[in-house]
Every structure is written in C-alpha cells, then in structure tokens.
C-alpha cells in the first residue's frame, strides 16, 4: 500500500467565526491506498462528511492540501476543480443523489456529458453501467419510480460513469433498510473484487468489517490504532 491514489495533509476546516466557530477538522493526514476499500467510521458530528467533501473537492479547507494522482487539488481554479470532479472523483451522497426530472439512464448520461463524452457514446455507456449495478431493466424509470436501494445503485453507476480513480460515498446505505443495504453492498463488493478504490463512511459494523483499511474519526482528527486500544 505504498502507492496512495489520494493523500490529505494537515486538513483543517473551520465553520463560522468568533463565538460560533466550529472546528470540524483539526489537522487530518490521510493516505488512501490505490485499490483499497477504505472505511471511515466515527460518531455523528465529528467531521466525517466534512472530510469527504474536502476529499471530493466540493469545499475548500481552511488549511491543508489534498493530492490526487499527484495533483494538488486546491491550487486549481474553479474550472479545473470542476473538471477534476467530473473525471477523477465519483461521489455518492446519503440520499437524493439523482436529478428528479431525469430517468436513471439520463442521470448517468448527464455525468458523462459533464466529462465531455459524446451523446452517442453516452447512450451505450449508460446502459452498460446500469447493467453493472443490475438495473438494466430500469433504465427509463425516473427516481420517483425506484426504491431507495435502486436509487443508490443508480447513483453508484453514475459515480462510476467516467471511471474515476476513486469513489467517495458518504453513508450510501445510511437511509436504507437492511434488504436494500444488502443490494447496495453486493454492488460494492463487486467493485472491491475489481480493485476499485472506494472510500465510504458508514455506521454499520457489518460493513466496516469488510474494509481493508479502517479509519476512525473523532473530534475532527484521525485516531491511530494504538490510541483506539487505549481508549477502549
């Protein structure tokens, strides 16, 4: 695990100022090994989502850097950062991932469009991606016609659309019942077999147990294994 696809160095994120200052991240150093199945765990409100947003280039840190494929993310201008999000990162949120006016297939096509893929290629690739998550049949369904688990699978297919080196998922099963969670986990398991780099946040011990790289976040910091032992 000497070749990290993504590295965070000294990430600090503060919200507000003065009396309302919140230190969401207090200096995070983190390597995401290529091909790893990295799981981030920790109590609510301790900075997991904040960390994911910074790793995904959705927000700027107060200080610190994120390097992806050797590129320093926050040195990029708005346009380059958007292009990086389109091509190098697939993001899955906890819920409402899909554009409601578009079908499953069109949602995926939109991600491809934003990466500059031609309309013709969008069509075939979108179909393949839906097959990968087992939803080839539901290509023309709108999000409202899909179950929660199906919607998250479409979201995963969309995150995979431009074959990004890393997938970031913030509690992708957090809103699902156990049956739907199992559906989604099956898809994730497949990605793991294929050697995809996946970083995801979860509260489920069962899911965390499948990770090959477990990261504990507490009070905006990473807890090292020996600290954990002392704490327990």
């Amino acid at each position: 695990m000497s070749d990290p696809v993504m590295t965070a160095k000294g990430l600090v994120k503060e919200y507000g100022k003065g009396a309302t200052l919140v230190k969401a991240l207090r200096g995070v150093d983190l390597d995401i090994p290529r091909g790893s199945f990295t799981c981030i765990v920790g109590p609510s409100g301790h900075g997991k989502s904040t960390l994911m947003h910074l790793l995904g280039g959705l927000d700027h840190p107060t200080s610190g850097t994120v390097i992806i494929d050797g590129q320093e993310m926050f040195r990029l201008g708005n346009k380059e950062l958007a292009a990086l999000r389109a091509n190098k990162i697939g993001f899955v949120f906890q819920f409402f991932n899909l554009l409601q006016s578009l079908t499953a297939r069109e949602n995926i096509e939109t991600a491809l469009m934003l990466a500059g893929v031609s309309e013709k290629e969008q069509k075939t690739r979108a179909k393949d991606l839906l097959d990968i998550v087992g939803l080839g049949e539901k290509a023309d369904a709108k999000p409202g016609q899909l179950s929660g688990g199906q919607q998250q699978r479409v979201a995963i297919a969309r995150a995979l659309a431009n074959d990004p080196p890393v997938l970031l998922m913030d509690e992708p099963t957090g809103n699902l019942d156990s049956e739907a969670e199992a559906e989604v986990m099956k898809v994730l398991e497949n990605l793991k077999q294929q050697g995809k780099t996946v970083v995801f946040v979860t509260h489920s011990h069962e899911i965390a147990a499948r990770a090959d790289n477990l990261v504990h976040v507490r009070d905006g910091q990473i807890q090292l294994p020996h600290d954990l032992k002392i704490a327990s």
Partner: protein
C-alpha cells in the same frame, strides 16, 4: 444528454407553472406586436388619406384644433359652421379650386358610418372617382346615395337597394370603385339633401382647396384668410399634426403593452427563483458531478431565455393574427378609424425583432436567479434538506 435537453427537461417538469409563465410573456408580446402592427398601418393610412383628400389647403372652422384636423382625415363629425357666403367668397378666388364638404355620421344596422354631403359633379372630378356599379347623382340636388365600395360590400347593398339615413329612406344610385381610403366606407349624399337631412341649412364642415401652382400654396392661404375669418391649414401641417396625435395614442398603447411585458418579466423572475430554490440540492449534485459555476449559470439563463423565445414566437403570431382579424372590429375613434378596412402592416423584420426582444427581456429577467443558482456552493446546496 446535452445541455439543451437538460434545460428542456427542467423547463417542463412543472407543467402548470411553465404554461402560466409562458402565457404571461405571450400575452404581453401579443399586445405589443398588435399595437406595433396597427401603429405601422396607421401611419401609412394617414399618408393615403391625405393624398385621397387631394387638397393643398383645407379651410376649417375658426379656431379648430389639431383634433378637428384629424376628423377631416378620418371622416368624423365636425363642428359645422362655415356659411354659404364664406364658401362663395373662397370659391371666388381665381387660380384655385375649392370644394365644400358636410361631414356627418349615421348608422346602418347599428354600425356607425360616415356620411358626406358633396357637390356631386365637382367632387367626382376633384377626387377622380370612377363608378363600379349603377349610376351617379344626375343633378346637383338629387335624392339618393352613392356608396363607397367596401361599405357597399359590408352591408350587402346594391344599386336600387334602400338605405335609411337619419330616418329617411334613400335609394342607392351607384357604387364607387375602391379607392383604398376612407371614401370606401362613406355614404355620399348631394350637399343640399345632406344639409336638409341634418338640419345644417347653408352650412358646411370644411372646404378642400387645390391651388393651380404648388409653389403658391402659402400665397393662397393668405388670400383665403383675407377674404374669410376661418382657419386655413396646409395638407403638410395637417399631416404632421395628425401624425403627432396618432403617434401619441400609439405610444400610449405601446406603453401599456410594455407594462404587460414588464409584469410578465417579473413572472419569469418569480418562476426562476422558485426553480432555483426547489433545485438547490440538484445544483449541488450537478456541481459534484463536475458542472462549473458558469455551466449552472448558463443552464438557468437559457431556461429563462426559452420562456422569452417561445413567448415571443407565440406572441408575434397571436399579435399578428389579432392585428389582421380584429382590426376591422376595433371601435372607431380618431386614431383607430384609419385602420378600418385597411390591411395591417405585418413586417417580418418586426416579427424577428419582437422575438429577439422577448428573448432578451426573459434572459435579463433570468439573470438574477441564474447568478444566485451559480453562486451556491456545492456543500451548501447538498446540506439543504
């Protein structure tokens, strides 16, 4: 997927709101186009009427104002107080031709029509009229009427028909060839018969004068003023004051249309603001997928622009139709009576201009919502629940 397909999917996701917003801009543009088309035709019609009058000078009642001059061109009723002696004095001047008219109103089948008392023979020559059907006044004081071509057709009148004017049954003697002016919509009587019918014994409304030498119009105006104490205007003065009045009326109408468009523009602002708010989370998702701020801005701006484009096309078509079909039914007044029976001026450049204008207005209206949408930070947009 393409950006324009994405725009259309978003545009039509709330069908009711889409339609009502569209209707707003469409109605605004339709009224604008209608008034523009009418305005264009008014101007050309005034030029035509002025030419049809065939006069270089018009003698009007003393102290008559611009509004009364409009009436001469439109065939409205005028204060009638020019006496027989005054007419005789004007007609005694050499080097010019002077024709008196009595302008009155009546109704056929409850629809208002212009009635003119004329000197049959002199007027026919003066105006170079030709007969289309039937005969003409056999004598200077003949009973009966001669009709303009359009009026005869509108009311289905033929030589030999009876027309009721001011309670008197009169025979239709003949029908004139179409002139393209208001004469087409006028009932002509011989002057003595008209004066009797309207109890204006020995009085006329105005006198049209044609001088033999065009460079002496000014000179003859003064000659007339020396003889009689009446108002004298040249056709040029008359045309410009009429155009000024009509221009004002026209501008007022267009201003009303502009207010309607402004209201529609605020409708677009409202719709787009609501859309921005509703799709806050989707904006965040788009950005997470790699949309730039400019990309989001453009999506919203085009979406609002399409309201203007479709509204402009629909408005131009509706407005054009309204101008063509509604024109003959517009109630007659000094400004709109020029339009009766005339074709509206439907100019393709005006149509293109209207569509462009409407699109621009809608894009300006969408500017603020689009900027707001593009300024959302992805995290802020996604955290919204």
């Amino acid at each position: 997927m393409t950006p324009s397909k994405l725009v259309f999917k978003n545009l039509t996701r709330r069908k009711g709101r889409f339609l009502f917003t569209l209707l707003g801009i469409m109605i605004g543009m339709a009224s604008f186009v209608t008034f523009m088309a009418l305005g264009g035709s008014l101007k050309s019609q005034i030029e035509k009427e002025s030419a049809a009058l065939g006069a270089n000078l018009v003698v009007t009642p003393k102290g008559s104002c611009a509004y009364e001059q409009v009436s001469i061109l439109t065939g409205e009723q005028l204060p009638t107080n020019i006496t027989r002696d005054e007419v005789a004095a004007i007609r005694s001047i050499d080097g010019m031709q002077a024709i008196p008219y009595l302008a009155e109103r009546s109704a056929i089948d409850n629809r208002p029509v212009s009635v003119m008392g004329i000197l049959p023979e002199e007027t026919r020559v003066f105006k170079k009229w030709n007969l289309a059907q039937g005969g003409y006044f056999p004598a200077e004081d003949s009973e009966g009427v001669v009709l303009g071509a359009v009026l005869a057709e509108q009311f289905g009148l033929l030589p030999g028909s009876d027309v009721r004017i001011r309670g008197a049954n009169l025979k239709v003697l003949g029908i004139l060839e179409e002139t393209g002016g208001k004469d087409d919509l006028t009932v002509f009587l011989s002057l003595p018969v008209a004066q009797n019918l309207y109890e204006q014994i020995d009085l006329v409304s105005y006198v049209a004068v044609r001088v033999d030498r065009l460079d002496e119009v000014e000179l003859y105006a003064n000659k007339i003023k020396d003889k009689v104490s009446l108002g004298v205007v040249s056709d040029k003065q008359m045309r410009s004051s009429v155009l000024a009045i009509v221009g004002t009326v026209n501008m007022t109408l267009q201003l009303i249309a502009a207010v309607a468009i402004l209201a529609a523009a605020f409708g677009i602002v409202n719709t787009m603001m609501t859309a921005t708010y509703e799709r806050k989370r989707e904006i965040g998702i788009l950005q997470a997928m790699g949309a730039t701020r400019y990309g989001v801005f453009r999506l919203f701006l085009i979406e609002s622009g399409i309201y203007g484009l479709i509204g402009g096309i629909g408005g131009a078509v509706l407005g054009g139709l309204a101008a063509v079909f509604a024109t003959p039914y517009i109630s007659q007044n000094a400004a709109t009576s020029f339009v009766k029976g005339s074709q509206s001026s439907l100019d393709p450049i005006m149509f293109a201009g209207a569509i462009l204008f409407s699109t621009l207005v809608a894009m300006v209206a969408g500017l603020y919502p689009a900027i707001k949408a593009s300024k959302l930070s992805p995290v802020e947009a996604i955290s919204y629940e």
